[in-house]
């Protein structure tokens, strides 16, 4: 299916292009717009973006696959990311990951059967002093214990 921005996104895209002296520099902000609309960067979006910025699809693909936050396939409705880096590990990240795997009944790197949650492990999110932590979509949840995790997960639609 051909990709296109929404009308409102088109306006934002035009505004974004004005921030940079060369078009290509708008690639990252525009890929964020793509992901905001579809939840991931599809092959069609790559082609669209290449045309939009006058660069090759390979250029767009190279960038979209380099940065880990750009999803390359549809993920769950909520992306649950657990930091398993050193600092979080010292403060119980192993426990948190185990707890979430059991609670959501899913392995890290996979999506729950109802498509609601995608669980993954990530490297340092700059939340070392408030470990263990997870990021769900755009929000950090810090200093977690079982009760807090239960409450946060229950609060998600």
């Amino acid at each position: 299916m051909e990709f296109s921005f929404t009308k409102e996104q088109k306006e934002r895209a035009e505004e974004i292009l004005k921030r940079y002296p060369v078009k290509r520099a708008a690639l990252l902000p525009l890929l964020w717009l793509v992901q905001e609309k579809d939840g991931y960067v599809s092959d069609d979006a790559v082609k669209f973006m290449a045309g939009f910025l006058d660069i090759s699809p390979a250029d767009v693909w190279g960038v979209a696959t380099f940065y880990t936050m750009f999803e390359r396939k549809p993920a769950g409705r909520h992306h649950v990311q657990v930091c398993t880096n050193l600092c979080c590990r010292l403060k119980g990240a192993d426990w948190l990951l185990r707890y979430l795997k059991n609670k959501l009944n899913v392995e890290a790197g996979a999506t729950t059967s109802d498509g609601k949650f995608h669980l993954s492990t990530v490297e340092c999110l700059g939340s070392c002093g408030t470990a263990p932590m997870m990021q769900i979509d755009d929000d950090y949840h810090e200093e977690l214990d079982a009760e807090k995790v239960d409450r946060i997960i229950a609060g998600l639609k």
Partner: protein, 412 residues
Amino acid sequence: MMKILTKNFGVPDSHLLKVARANGAYSSLGKLFAMKPEDAVQEVKKSGLRGRGGAGFPTGTKWGFVPKGTGKPVYLVVNADESEPGTFKDRAIIEKDPHLLIEGILIASHAIGADTVYVYFRGEYYRQWERFLSALKEAKEARIVGERPFIHAHRGAGAYICGEETALLNSIEGYRGVPRIRPPFPAVSGLFGCPTIINNVETLASLPYIIREGGEAYAKIGTEKSRGTKLISVCGHVNRPGVYEIELGMSIARFLAEHAGGTPEERALKAVVPGGSSVPVMTAAEALGGCLSYEGCEKAGSMLGSGGMIVMDESACMVRCLADIAKFYHHESCGQCTPCREGCGWIKKICERLEAGEGREGDLELMLAVADNMQGKTICVFADALAMPVKSFVTKFKDEFEEHIRFGRCPR
């Protein structure tokens, strides 16, 4: 103790312009705009301020590298791509006092003659990016930020390497975040081939004080080689993890006791990584005899780096800790240089087999040899950032590594 960076951290709603202004935000600007740009550079040189991103390069000197009269625009790029494990200090500034950062941006732009500023946020700092944007909006509405400089907030998308300044420039230009070969240095040919200064968030946040009170006043704080105050973010096995502002030169022992509140259940201290995961680890003895200054950390066998302190008590397994560090660097290597791309993977594999009890005779020597082949042999210092922990962990905690091989399991 003088509070320069954190003075508003405890003030409710300190991120709002009204509150920030009541607490002195933007009060340096009157003096700044009466100064010639070169005088502002001079003031910062006098202050002795060194870059707070990790490298510690003198800020005023860096500014002085911008060539005059090239006819090209000059860019200021703000490095808010904080992602080194153990480091969460810039985040505190952005969340709690974004106007201090904006004031710093205005000062630096005036000094170097920048008319466009890009603030590069790590992609994960979405809420922090929003907070900055709303502070910027308020500052624009109040006409504190005018037509020039243009200040744009640019979001990364998950790549630690983009904290490396030339990778960051490539990322803004819409490329993969791979570091560039220097020279040319960014001050001469950086963003879009134009003169560019890249400064860390904390560095910029230190500027309002320097302009308001003068470089000499700032230089009176700290030690001879480490002037001023610095944020230390402390985590791991401590009772009070968090972000603390210290006068440079404070002893690590005092910092751990007074700020970090000691180790949980008074367990014995085993090791301290003082400046983010990339600096050499200190033994407890080195740490307790060391100081938090650029020269003090070096003397104690490490580096001040970003001031991201990771504390391990006796319950930590040093092999596991190094394995976690190696996992990070393996995941984040941009893959451009072979010694780094391959070396990080080798180190990770060896650490993991040691921890799993499958270590072999000669593994420690192999790790050191791999680290030697990484250090100083690549375009940027990313490879060194793993080689230094490897060398220090393996040599300073050799017994623990050998035990893993001898016992065929992790003894902890």
